[in-house]
């Protein structure tokens, strides 16, 4: 084999290749995402013009809006008629929340970090708003100090993570403790602040948190009841779930606020806040039950047979085998449900009963002659508050789904 054969072939002149299409840089990004075809370019230009025009109008409105309706009434929006001399209790409860959230975010990581970021940012923003309101510098500093506390707890716990059992216990203690601090009790140094003085964001939070905490166990029981092979129990659970899901929330709240007193003995008076919480809980539990039922159905029958085979009774089987698996898989769906629940708390003000949560406070502020015609400012502010809260929850839920590998395992 002589070495020269290949070398003897006539060499072809090099073919000039077209320059490679740029795949990085601004121009390439624009071409790929905004101007990929003439149709796409046309759409981009038309939509872009409309967006620019609308954006301009919005910016103009935001600059010229009478935001003093929000800043002047900021206290009402945040805590309603909660007596000013007791306002420190709210900051105390908030400090506990910040501390625990910071510790949890650092130790547990994942979705709780998104929530912690939003909580800290929200408090910092509120503090800035307060600087411009009659609530004054002290309140503003207290709120911003809360954001700082959250950050501090986060940094400390990053170094020394708190064990998850301790965290769970701390949260379990926190919820009733915060309720006690806010509501107070006769015979203790903390005077009672009746729930009718609660309002604004404080009441919205109260309704939502109580609704979430109560409707979850109730919903799990209903789901187990519906799946039970005992006919009577499953029939009663199914009827309850389907009736509640078939009617609007407003009819249930109306019943709870106007009709419930008729069903109770004359001397038993239930507070309007508790009645609203009851209505929200009943409504939400039916939806939780349907979510949980989905999780129960997804459990392979082998798990149940195995539990039976090792001699667990029905109670043990549910507690140790079925529920842990079922609940795990429906947590993201339930987060979505709790976002709706938070939004649905606005309905209590049209159901009657005189409860002034965030939207109700907004309406009463609008009734002041000084702020006549500031509907848009008030409603946009309320929407913004809800948006921040719900968006934070939904972001946390996305991360939770990713962390739990829903749909990938």
């Amino acid at each position: 084999m002589s070495g020269g054969e290949l070398a003897d072939l006539p060499r072809l002149p090099p073919v000039p290749e077209p320059p490679p299409v740029r795949t990085i840089g601004l121009a390439a990004w624009l071409r790929a995402n905004l101007f990929s075809s003439w149709m796409s370019s046309l759409v981009t230009i038309l939509v872009g013009l409309v967006v620019a025009y609308v954006g301009l109008l919005v910016v103009q409105w935001v600059i010229n809006a009478r935001w003093e309706v929000v800043t002047e009434n900021l206290r009402l929006f945040l805590m309603g008629q909660y007596p000013i001399e007791h306002a420190w209790r709210i900051w105390l409860a908030l400090a506990g929340l910040s501390l625990l959230t910071g510790l949890t975010a650092a130790s547990a990581g994942g979705p709780t970090r998104a929530l912690a970021t939003w909580l800290a940012a929200g408090q910092a923003m509120l503090g800035l708003l307060m600087l411009d309101s009659p609530m004054g510098t002290v309140a503003a500093l207290a709120t911003m100090a809360n954001a700082g506390l959250l950050w501090l707890a986060f940094v400390v716990a990053l170094r020394r993570p708190v064990p998850s059992r301790a965290l769970g216990f701390a949260w379990l203690v926190y919820v009733p403790a915060a309720l006690f601090v806010l509501h107070g009790m006769g015979g203790t140094p903390l005077d009672v602040v009746p729930a009718r003085f609660w309002g604004g964001l404080l009441l919205t939070f109260m309704l939502a948190i109580a609704g979430i905490v109560l409707s979850f166990p109730f919903g799990v029981l209903l789901a187990l009841g519906r799946r039970s092979d005992m006919r009577l129990i499953s029939g009663m659970s199914t009827t309850f779930i389907e009736v509640v899901r078939g009617v609007p929330l407003i009819t249930i709240l109306f019943m709870a606020s106007i009709l419930l007193p008729l069903f109770l003995p004359g001397d038993l008076r239930i507070d309007a806040v508790l009645r609203a919480i009851g209505g929200i809980t009943i409504f939400s539990a039916a939806y939780v039950a349907e979510n949980v039922r989905g999780g129960l159905q997804a459990i392979p029958s082998g798990q149940i047979e195995a539990a039976n085979a090792i001699g667990l009774n029905a109670f043990q089987r549910n507690l140790y085998i079925v529920l842990p698996q079922a609940l795990r898989s429906v947590i993201p769906a339930n987060v979505g449900l709790f976002i709706s629940l938070l939004k649905d708390t606005t309905l209590v003000f049209i159901a009657g009963g005189g409860l002034l949560e965030l939207l109700g406070i907004g309406r009463s502020v609008l009734a002041q002659p000084a702020f006549f015609g500031t509907h848009l400012e008030v409603y946009v502010f309320i929407s913004a508050v809800f948006f921040v809260l719900c968006y934070a929850m939904s972001q946390a839920s996305y991360r939770l789904e990713a962390a739990m590998g829903v749909g990938t395992r």
């Binding site: 995402n33 905004l34 759409v43 967006v51 129990i233 008729l262 939904s394």
Partner: protein
């Protein structure tokens, strides 16, 4: 044995609790002179309703007032479902757009709607509606549509002489086209080419509608609203209340439907689309015969619950002052001193609406599901 006892015990507890509630109710009703029963439905209502689909005055009975409310709820739900589906499909497709701007705008719209309460949106829209210019300075939209603080005025289609004949011709054409569609489907099932049967059918309907229209001489006319000093004469005017409610319900529900549609389309596997193009289907055929049926199968159940939500959310009408079922019933409950019967009636009615909607959607769902062997 133990199980039977447990069940009976549970039932007994529930019954005991119910009996306790009812006993209290009896006491309380006797004390506050409330009554139970549906006799009040035949007495005079005595309140006016702003917007009604059929004749109603304050001298009519409560039953008629209730029916007016029910008709209004059904109207809002039906219109809302149709409009929200259209906007929702557009949103879902826009969320899948490769155009970054379109994609992000759709995403922003969905997030904004999903993360703020519907009730706040409704009162916000209503506040905007009543701050609109007066009738004299109406905002004119293309197609003789006018928007002002008195509501939305638009042309109303009216039948002209000859409408009956034209309608008959068009209906026959539609019938023939449907037959062609069925024959084409049979041919496809049998593995043969459907030919251009569907196109021919479609053309025939269009021809019948246009040709018939020309022959008859304009079967449908438009009653265009005319601007007077204080209001519009002629045309169709929708009150600001109904406009705000419908608009709010539609843009809210459409965001949710958009996500449902996006999820459904994304769930169709790429392999399906690749397989379709490898056996030589055109893009249109792929969409119609491969992607759409499979996406629909995923979309229908969550879509049903969005429709149910819309119907139930229409009860928020009371916040913008539109006289729907709940709003009318609340007035009735206050006036008649018979709140229990009224709320029972309202809840039963909403239950029936929900049940009928799910029944219809279940029938449709069964039709789009795969037959599994």
């Amino acid at each position: 044995m133990l199980r039977a006892v447990a069940q009976l015990a549970a039932l007994g507890l529930v019954l005991l609790f119910a009996a306790w509630l009812l006993l209290n109710l009896g006491d309380n009703m006797r004390q506050s002179r409330l009554s139970f029963g549906f006799g009040f439905l035949n007495s005079t209502a005595g309140f006016d309703i702003g917007e009604t689909l059929f004749a109603y005055s304050a001298t009519d009975t409560y039953l008629r007032a209730f029916l007016v409310g029910l008709a209004n709820t059904l109207l809002v739900s039906l219109l809302g479902i149709i409009l929200a589906t259209i906007l929702g499909v557009i949103t879902g497709v826009a969320r899948l757009s490769k155009n970054w701007l379109v994609n992000k705008i759709a995403a922003g719209y969905v997030e904004l709607m999903r993360n703020t309460p519907l009730l706040v949106q409704l009162v916000l829209i209503y506040a905007v509606m009543i701050q609109l210019p007066s009738v004299a300075n109406s905002i004119a939209l293309p197609g003789s549509i006018f928007l002002n603080q008195r509501g939305l005025s638009m042309p109303r289609p009216v039948t002209e002489p000859g409408f009956g004949i034209w309608l008959a011709v068009v209906l026959v054409a539609v019938g023939v086209a449907l037959a062609a569609h069925i024959v084409a489907g049979r041919r496809e099932d049998a593995g043969r080419s459907p030919g251009r049967l569907r196109l021919a059918g479609l053309l025939m309907v269009v021809l019948a509608a246009i040709g018939g229209g020309i022959v008859v001489g304009g079967p449908i006319g438009l009653d265009v609203p005319e601007q007077q000093r204080f209001n519009f004469v002629g045309g169709l005017t929708i009150s600001p209340e109904l406009t705000a409610l419908l608009f709010g319900l539609v843009i809210y529900t459409a965001a949710f439907i958009g996500e449902v549609v996006r999820g459904g389309i994304q769930a169709v596997r790429r392999g399906q689309i690749e397989a379709a193009s490898s056996i030589g289907l055109t893009d249109m055929q792929t969409l119609r015969m491969i992607v759409f049926p499979q996406a629909l199968r995923i979309i229908v159940p969550p879509l049903t619950s969005q429709y149910l939500n819309l119907a139930k959310n229409s009860s928020l009408a009371i916040a913008v002052g539109f006289a729907d079922l709940f709003s009318v019933s609340r007035t009735m409950a206050n006036q008649t001193g018979n709140p229990i019967s009224v709320i029972v009636l309202v809840m039963a009615t909403y239950l029936v609406i929900s049940l009928v909607t799910s029944l219809l959607m279940n029938i449709y769902n069964r039709r789009v599901q795969v037959l599994e062997r």
